[in-house]
């Protein structure tokens, strides 16, 4: 309230006339912070990747030649030819500066192994990974929120206890093992879904489910706890005493407030999701970023490693940005607080 007394009324009114709406200000603030974070991530990840690849054992030129021709046909002569062609004998710092300069002009360069444009290859792999990650996240949210809501309806009941078991099991199972178990059940024994591969519509079901099961456990737990707590809150009880129908209370107050907590947890889970994508893509032969990164590391394809790692890191930043924006949209309290202050 000191704010209103510190300024004359007339100028306050003028300020209000030209003031940025709180929602827009909050969005701009989020985007600004995340853009700075993204720039830091780009610099850090690029440099770290370059340093790590340089410190890996083995001669990079030999490894790239093996990626090109197959290790049966790698000779010192072919490695020397690769080294000369790609300028791998230049000082290491110069190679890094070249990469960063290219990055500054939005040029990701060409793969050292295939010669193809990294941006082109990255686009294909990124699209596949995003498809898988989004499918998994949506599935996990639907399953997790539903199970959590059902458990919260009767805390301590059988369903609630079963949910606890589900949460523990889902968290304890590594994605690789879970993926194998799902393949054995749905592909080998039931024969209803493809075991691996890409290109057909139903290829995505098992990899997305593998990721979703792991994520859904925590979503269920968070939903259950938040919902049980919100159901007991004063504002929910007050809304009920006002005579609002129980469905409306559930939708307007319980679901919306649970959503705020749940969306915040999506941000926490993004790292688990990205990590899982790398493992699951390898098992299901899904040609995404994880798959590309594994191959690139194997071949020491430095531009591809840097670009794939960058894309994965920026995916984390982007998803966190989306989470921030979604939270701001669902929960108006922080932006009002900022506006008041």
């Amino acid at each position: 309230m000191t704010l209103s007394t510190a300024k004359p009324r007339a100028s306050n009114s003028a300020l209000r006339r030209f003031a940025v709406p709180p929602a827009l200000a909050a969005t701009a603030s989020v985007l600004g912070r995340r853009a700075i974070q993204a720039a830091g991530v780009v610099l850090l990840v690029s440099t770290a990747c370059f340093a790590i690849v340089q410190s890996l054992p083995g001669d990079i030129a030999f490894r790239i030649a093996a990626g090109r021709y197959g290790y049966d046909q790698v000779t010192a002569a072919s490695a020397d030819s690769v080294r000369a062609e790609l300028g791998l004998d230049r000082p290491v710092w110069l190679q890094l500066v070249d990469w960063l300069a290219g990055l500054a002009s939005l040029d990701l360069g060409n793969s050292l192994v295939t010669g193809a444009s990294v941006a082109g290859e990255l686009g294909l792999h990124l699209a596949s990974s995003l498809q898988l990650a989004v499918a998994a996240l949506v599935l996990a949210l639907i399953v997790g929120a539903t199970v959590g809501a059902l458990a919260a309806a009767r805390p301590g009941g059988i369903l609630d206890r079963l949910t606890t078991v589900w949460v523990s099991a889902a968290r304890a199972l590594p994605p690789f093992l879970l993926g194998l178990a799902l393949i054995l059940l749905f592909s080998v024994h039931l024969g209803v879904l493809p075991a691996a591969g890409h290109g057909e519509a139903n290829n995505i079901v098992l990899p997305a489910a593998t990721l979703a099961v792991g994520l859904s456990g925590l979503f269920a737990r968070v939903t259950r706890d938040a919902m049980a707590q919100i159901r007991q809150s004063d504002y929910v009880r007050f809304a009920a005493t006002k005579g609002i129908g129980s469905w409306l209370v559930f939708l307007r107050h319980v679901c919306r407030n649970t959503g705020v907590t749940l969306i915040a947890y999506v941000g926490v889970q993004v790292l688990v999701l990205i990590e899982g994508v790398v493992v699951v893509e390898s098992l299901f032969a899904w040609p995404g970023l994880g798959h590309a990164l594994v191959h690139a590391i194997f071949w020491r394809d430095i531009p591809m490693i840097q670009a794939a790692a960058l894309a994965l890191a920026l995916m984390v930043v982007a998803m966190n940005t989306v989470v921030d924006l979604a939270t701001a949209a669902v929960d108006p309290r922080p932006r009002h607080k900022e506006a008041v202050l």
Binding site: G58, Y71, A116, G191, A195, G197, A285, H295
Partner: protein, 516 residues
């Protein structure tokens, strides 16, 4: 309550219908309506014949001038016949008439010569190592001029990197942008790095394939490939690991095709090393290896225990009369004692105060290599040899060879990269050594045997020269054979007629038929 029950019943019915629908989708429909589904380990990241070429000859999309049968005997490919001049410095390969590329253009000598010149310019291809003077077109023939006689030239022209593609395959900078070959199948869709769709080429000059459509899916993990085979998602599955293969064999629902490959797992020995340079020591190491147990336990195939360098799948080079390499730890100890090595206080052998401690490098690209390295480590320890196993990457072997730091290396070597093993052997056992062959070792008799074979002047005594080669390698052991290889494919009961190519040049899909 009634409404709730109806909802539950409705939901259950929908769920059941969905599962039934999915289940229906997974069942086999009449074979002719479905493409043949091939699954393998090879991804393609480039279409250039020098890098991804093997995949497109395996799929019978692209052809080479010269072909080879299952025994490695050269056969006509795009060239009907080939002849060498009397001095061996000029070869003429006459093209088969009427051959067409998939874009309808004719396979001409000009196009073939241009493709070979491109292959020659690529590092790492066998053609780049040929003493080549010029490749040109002469009417309907391709003429290859050499600076010195090179008898295995036709075999080099059977290597997959020399495949002949249509001019429309190349972009403006001569980069291969699509694969327009002349084989029985044409590419209809390419989705790098893993999906290829093929259709039978209507104007193929040979017998029309019964299976008109093929899909190829690359899957990197052998476990995933095995599960795809088990779940009937693939008709032909290549690249099986021994454990999965044994499980599938025991289940008995799928067929297995196999063939012994001209490939061997070897211990490369630095013969210039102050310890390993002693042939008695190399023989002792060889005798310490229990190859049969390793092949049985780790490769699940006791017949793959190597008794000599060349497997039976290289009939020209494999010598039935050769004295087999055997497991004889007692004799190994005697040999080491003769060489002056005596057990030290900790059991490790010592000579002149120096312990017998060496490093073995290997890599995990082939998953059996690290486990075999561990088994070798255990066997050498029984002799008192301290073996330090370093699992890194394959490039450390040629790099260690080049800088002289390599002591021992475990790797697999394919002797039929070109159908005539002489090309690979002459490189591996050249006087200066080879990246995947001898190191710090040479034998003039071996070199002269190779020279005689390469010149082609002494064709009547070729068998004798090959026998001499085996004898020298068997007694000198510049590389110590450990195991051979068997390639297996899992085949669904929907198809018949799969015969595996030991040279791994073709999967021979055009010869397959649907099971009646």
């Amino acid at each position: 309550m009634g409404w709730q029950r109806m909802r539950v019943a409705g939901a259950s019915a929908v769920a059941l219908l969905m599962i039934a629908g999915c289940a229906g989708a997974g069942k086999d429909t009449p074979a002719a309506n479905q493409p043949l589904r091939v699954v393998g380990q090879f991804e393609f990241h480039s279409l250039d014949p020098s890098t991804a070429g093997g995949l497109f000859t395996r799929l019978e999309v692209a052809e080479t001038l010269v072909d080879a049968d299952s025994k490695g005997v050269l056969q006509p490919g795009l060239a009907d016949n080939w002849t060498a001049s009397a001095d061996g410095l000029s070869w003429t390969l006459t093209l088969r008439s009427g051959a067409l590329f998939h874009d309808g253009t004719e396979v001409t000598a000009d196009v073939a010569a241009a493709a070979l010149n491109t292959a020659h310019g690529k590092a790492g291809t066998p053609l780049a190592t040929v003493p080549l003077k010029a490749i040109s077109a002469e009417g309907n023939s391709v003429r290859v001029d050499l600076t010195e006689p090179f008898a295995p030239l036709p075999a080099v022209l059977a290597h997959t990197s020399t495949q002949i593609l249509a001019p429309s395959s190349y972009g403006p900078d001569q980069a291969v942008t699509k694969v327009v070959g002349s084989g029985p199948y044409r590419v209809t869709q390419l989705e790098p790095p893993a999906n290829i769709k093929l259709a039978a080429f209507e104007q193929w000059r040979g017998e029309k394939p019964e299976i008109s459509e093929v899909t190829y899916q690359a899957v990197g993990r052998s476990e995933s490939r095995a599960l795809m085979a088990e779940s009937a998602q693939s008709d032909v599955t290549f690249g099986m690991d021994p454990t999965s293969l044994q499980k599938i064999k025991q289940a008995g629902k799928l067929n297995i095709a196999d063939v012994t490959l001209p490939r061997a797992i070897l211990l490369k020995v630095n013969s210039g090393h102050d310890v390993l340079g002693d042939v008695q020591v190399r023989r002792a190491i060889s005798m310490a290896l229990d190859r049969e147990s390793m092949a049985t336990a780790l490769l699940r195939d006791p017949e793959m225990a190597a008794t000599q360098l060349f497997p039976p799948s290289l009939p020209d080079w494999h010598q039935e009369s050769a004295t087999p390499l055997e497991h004889d730890p007692s004799k190994a100890k005697e040999l080491l004692a003769d060489a002056g090595w005596v057990p030290g206080s900790d059991g490790t052998l010592e000579r002149d105060g120096k312990k017998f401690s060496v490093t073995l490098r290997t890599f995990p690209d082939r998953p059996e290599l690290p486990v075999l390295a561990t088994a070798i480590q255990a066997k050498l320890k029984e002799l008192g040899i301290a073996l330090d196993v370093k699992v890194g990457n394959s490039s450390e072997i040629p790099a260690g060879h080049k800088d002289g730091s390599l002591e021992l290396a475990l790797y697999s070597r394919n002797y039929a990269l070109v159908p005539d093993a002489l090309v690979t052997l002459a490189d591996d056992f050249a006087p200066e050594g080879g990246d995947y062959g001898a190191m710090g070792w040479n034998d003039p008799a071996l070199t002269s045997a190779f020279d005689a074979l390469a010149s082609g002047h002494d064709a009547d005594h070729a068998a004798e020269s090959r026998r001499k080669v085996t004898d020298i390698l068997q007694t000198q052991l510049p590389v110590i054979p450990v195991a051979w290889y068997r390639q297996s494919a899992v085949v669904s009961p929907r198809i018949e007629g799969l015969i595996l190519d030991p040279l791994e040049r073709s999967w021979r899909l055009s010869g397959l038929t649907w099971a009646k």
